[in-house]
């Protein structure tokens, strides 16, 4: 504190003016941060120890929400399982396929920007619209895939109405919406210096060696970024299952964020919803830290960084 004060004390007139100007310019964000991020986070932590339903008086109940979630909420472990299943498959699979697709696009290819547009557009279409199309495609009676199967005399696939198929069907939709990651990967691949590949070719490296020893290490920071971002958004998966299956069948697509949603906006258990949110926040932060910690061994920050 004293160090800080002394520094402020020593500011020249011009520096003081800059200090004030800078803070004034940034003040919208500072106020917004306090109003829409810091205060909500703090109050959510407080609410997580209360019973709060807008009707009765809010009352302090200590750890009862947390105890209930872990011991007396049969849905909780189901949604944890569903979410881990979904995130555990869709995120690594999504990052891997996006990376491979970007690599395909990065080769000598006629119509590269055309293909890039094809892969990217599904990710910008309004989510409700994609939900309507997939609902139609996956339909047991009129869906295009099942219509073909029926025409061939094969049994239909109950994409959204069977416990075994519902989660894989949603994962397919998430892979379809991977376009942004493809574009990010492609941009990073184009930044890899050509000279590295040329040098390796001179040294007799084949395509596989070049991919494994140059492309992958040079892209590892972006792989890490996509992995972390995929994880954070994967844990919040809400809209597609909400619109397509509403959590069914047999709660097989009831994910963590939907459970939180129902507690907050259907049961009006704001306190418990906040407790659920804090459990998720802590899990996501711990997982992210874990990934960053282990990343030291596989992420390569080369070149100018």
């Amino acid at each position: 504190m004293t160090v800080f004060n002394r520094r402020i004390w020593r500011l020249s007139k011009a520096e003081t003016r800059n200090q004030i100007t800078g803070l004034l310019f940034v003040s919208p964000w500072i106020i917004g941060f306090l109003l829409w991020t810091a205060y909500p986070l703090a109050s959510s932590f407080f609410y997580s120890f209360t019973h709060y339903d807008f009707i009765t008086q809010m009352r302090w109940i200590g750890f009862r929400n947390y105890v209930e979630i872990f011991t007396d909420d049969p849905r909780f472990w189901t949604v944890v399982y569903n979410t881990v299943y979904y995130v555990g498959i869709s995120v690594p699979l999504g990052v891997a396929t996006a990376f491979l697709m970007a690599n395909l696009l990065n080769t000598r290819l006629v119509g590269r920007s055309f293909f890039r547009a094809i892969f990217f557009i599904p990710s910008i279409v309004p989510a409700v619209c994609s939900a309507m199309v997939w609902l139609f495609i996956y339909n047991n009676q009129y869906g295009v895939i099942n219509n073909f199967l029926r025409a061939m005399g094969r049994p239909i696939i109950p994409f959204l109405s069977s416990v075994t198929w519902s989660k894989p069907s949603l994962i397919v939709i998430s892979l379809w919406g991977q376009g942004a990651a493809v574009v990010i990967f492609l941009a990073s691949l184009q930044d890899v210096p050509r000279s590295l590949y040329e040098a390796a070719t001179v040294d007799g490296a084949n395509a596989w060696h070049r991919f494994w020893h140059i492309t992958v290490p040079m892209s590892s920071p972006i792989i890490l970024y996509n992995l972390v971002m995929g994880l954070i958004s994967g844990f919040q998966t809400f809209l597609m299952p909400y619109l397509l299956t509403n959590g069914g069948p047999m709660a097989s697509t009831e994910f963590y964020a939907m459970h939180l949603w129902r507690n907050a906006f259907e049961l009006f258990r704001m306190g418990k919803a906040c407790a659920l949110a804090w459990i998720m926040l802590i899990t996501v932060v711990l997982l992210t830290l874990l990934i960053f910690k282990t990343s030291a061994s596989w992420v390569f920050y080369g070149g100018e960084r």
Binding site: T21, V26, L104, S113, F119, A127, C129, V183, Y225
Partner: protein, 299 residues
Amino acid sequence: MTNLARGLVRPRRTHKWTWMRIFLEFLKYFIVITLAISYAFPLYWMISSALKDDPQIYRVPPVLIPHPMHWNNFIDAWRADEFTLYTFNSVFRYALPNTAFTVISSAIVAYGFARVRWHGRDQLFFLCVSTMMIPYTVTMVPLFIIFKKLGWVGTYNPMVVPALFGNAFFIFLLRQFFMTLPEELSDAARVDGASELGILFRIILPLSKPALAVVALFQFMGTWNDYIGPLIYINKYELYPLALGIQKLRTALSQVGNAPMAYPYLMAVSTIASAPIIILFFFAQRTFIEGISLTGLKG
């Protein structure tokens, strides 16, 4: 080795068309085209089904190219509910004000982070960037409680007013862009007695049109596509945005078992709602791609 010499020594890529090469090339195009067809198919199915009538929807095997094409579906589907009103709400109550506020506020904040020197700036910027990692589900409930106390539930305020305070990601993006502009420009203006706000609006912003376009495009797209915000806060049909209107139509059509023309109408409305985004993409493809590529930079 001089550059010239290096150019001479560099191995020329010779493409001998061996059978192996031809096979690999064939394989590559096969994979890319298969992927492209499967990625494009759902949207093709949306547009083509919008042009069918019920018999074509139910036929086995499925009709890949609608014949005859019922272009009237677009008008009939649009009239099946108050879609003109919903579109008005989407654009004028939500997307446009939110986008305008976001662009202006983010630019002002980014200027403070990029081009004014002050103590604590980099620490605050780091804090700003880290807020992007906070899952929205965590602040969703406490924010709802705040807006409920303010009496804003049932209005677009919860989705528009926070835009006045800047958006962390766009602040980051614009700051990176502002930093690339030469400092001499600002210095020259300062000598002429321009204020910092004047420098931002008269010199920096006109030079930053590409970056501002990215912000405006992404924010417009985000608000046009947003479903969860209106789902939480909008509870009256006359205030519904297009996204909620589509779901409302779906509920209405599925309540009577399977209403006639349920799928063509849903696909027609979905096509209309996606069209502005897809058209924007084709007109501003470079802006989109560059913007998305920039998001990877912060990794």
